[in-house]
Symmetry: C2
Subunit: 373 residues, 2 copies
């Protein structure tokens, strides 16, 4: 377990703020490697669909329509744009964020078709940030495939990201709702702030857990929150319900990123769909590293200072980092915090009447954590 009292204190205080207290999540085996593209949600031979696949099934027709919108609206007379966009947009991914928009709209009783276009906006914003992230992180793998920047170059990735971002706003304008435009433009600014903040704390082991959580709340949870809130807004639901959906998305997004950061030190490459140890090599400050650093003795601290702060890494250092993280229980601590946020997310759904969609959204919160266990 994590040894440093400072970090334990912070973890508890943040868990309390998230309004936790639900029983621990179940301990199913990791099913991350069974998460398939949305239109073939059930992996062949898998015993039963996971929670995300069940949620995706519930909005299947909407997601089909959303995928058609995505393909239609990423088109351009400049052929490189749909080519590059198809590499990342159409080639798979879980479509988690647009599924959230679709599911939240239906949860709120929405019966129109606007949520389909807005879900496509959410996916375009997400895709634009992925393209720019991969340039910033110099990633070579994304979802188990070569990243767009490694195939098409950094320049094209930056510019096609800009195009998709602008196209998302064009779609929102066509939809015509200023409240929706407000939610998604604010989310886009918050995402960029979170990404810059992450850049600022890179290599800095003095980063507090609170700062780290601010970063992931910005870079990841802001779009989850907006994706969910838009579902309520498009359905014309009262503020309290829209706020609950935003909070559900926020907590779910934080849980999701915590698990992602844990998996970067705990999964094999096939499971992860990206290069294992990327975060370590970049000197990215994530909770597993912070927890291991705070729990470390003098010699281990020197290791972290050399590898993360001074960016001096030798071939065997990743193995030692994995070993130190394992010894200190840093992965477990990170997943425990993720479970706390997932439970807090589920609590936000209490405002809605019970329904298969509400159950499926709650199960996705659990699944976000259980996929890593």
């Amino acid at each position: 377990m994590v040894g440093g009292s400072a970090i334990r204190f912070q973890t508890e205080s943040i868990a309390n703020r998230a309004g936790a207290g639900l029983p621990p999540v179940d301990q199913r085996e990791s099913v991350l490697n069974n998460v398939s593209p949305p239109l073939q949600a059930r992996a062949p031979g898998s015993p039963e669909p996971d929670a995300l696949a069940r949620l995706t099934d519930l909005v299947g027709a909407d997601l089909h329509a959303c995928n058609r919108t995505i393909v239609a609206r990423m088109d351009s007379p400049v052929a490189l744009i749909p080519q590059l966009a198809a590499h990342i947009v159409a080639a798979g991914g879980k479509r988690l964020r647009p599924v959230l928009t679709l599911a939240c709209a239906r949860l709120c009783g929405y019966e129109g078709a606007r949520h389909v276009e807005l879900a496509a906006c959410v996916e375009f914003i997400h895709t634009a940030t992925l393209l720019h992230d991969d340039v910033v992180d110099e990633s070579v793998l994304r979802r188990g495939l070569s990243s767009a920047n490694s195939v098409f170059g950094n320049k094209a990735s930056v510019l096609v990201g800009d195009f998709l971002f602008a196209r998302a706003f064009q779609l929102m304008v066509a939809d015509g709702s200023l409240p929706v435009l407000g939610i998604l433009s604010k989310a886009a600014a918050t995402i960029a702030e979170g990404e810059v903040h992450q850049l600022v704390i890179q290599n800095d082991l003095a980063t507090t857990e609170e700062q780290y959580l601010e970063v992931i709340r910005g870079k990841t949870a802001a779009l989850f929150a907006a994706a969910c809130e838009v579902g309520g807004v498009v359905a014309g639901r009262p503020d309290a319900e829209c706020r609950a959906l935003a909070a559900f998305g926020d907590h779910l997004g934080i849980a999701f990123q915590l698990v992602d950061d844990a998996l970067d030190y705990a999964a094999d490459q096939a499971t992860l769909g990206k290069t294992v140890g990327d975060d370590f090599r970049e000197g990215k400050i994530t909770l597993p590293v912070l927890a291991a650093y705070h729990a470390a003795d003098g010699k281990a601290r020197e290791f972290w200072v050399r590898t993360i702060e001074a960016s001096e890494q030798k071939p065997d250092d990743l193995d030692r980092a994995l070993c130190l993280i394992e010894q200190t229980g840093a992965i477990q601590a990170t997943l425990d915090l993720a479970a706390t946020f997932a439970a807090a997310a589920k609590n936000q759904l209490a405002i809605f009447a019970p329904s298969p969609l509400r159950d499926a959204l709650a199960d996705v919160a659990d699944f976000t954590v259980s996929r890593a266990r």
Copy 2:
């Protein structure tokens, strides 16, 4: 003069389409090095203010307010964002695009204050594209200073560009006009398309002049057009006037970029505010290169194929390129085409009653070309 008949034919057809026919612009000496930041528009000791300085003076109070909005709205708790943004936003530049929004709104008799925030949006979109451009072009100089990417790194430039872009949309949403949001979101998508198109034709001497003009219409003129049109829309003017302003901006923007592309082979570094020969070293396809290539004999053609298409450049090649461009009259041909577009821009102003603002806008169109003579 340009020798290739194909390129001459194209130049004429495009000039005709632009609705030209005005007398040639006057032949004043270059005053580009007298273009100062907007709040000290008149360079000490300069005999008289240039056309842009006069236009800027006419909207001086509005521009002061716009600059205050820019500084206020680029703030963020993540200190690196205002630091980097200040490096490029607050450090100068001509503020040409926001001045166009302010001037067009006043030309249309607008008496409110919304145009100030919208002019700031225009500048934020412009700044975001500059930040990304400099990353894509690997530029080290911008407006005579170190570029943001060379000071803060590519990663921060990409992400702060994203932030400014999102912030522009937040400001537009606060303004609350869907037509304005439509104009600027479409412009943003068109800019990105133009930039990607430019990337596609890079190093390709088979590019037609028409393709080149499509590129600069997208990457540069789209924002000029939107900046002007927004001025008419915010003033609630009829469609015909708004369309005339958009066409004025479009033609002005094309003239502006043609001159910029000429100056890259015709100015010294102090005048240019960026490294001379950048376009050549990147193998960027611009009209001076296309014109010189089409006019070239066998040996000179081999030179262009080696340096631009094969990107094999030796230390003396820039001097030879400048010499070949000089010999073929490629700069003059480029500036002549710019003058045609500037004249077409001025024609679009005929729909408005004569006024000091209309005269100043017309003079800016002339000045766009005369700054290079």
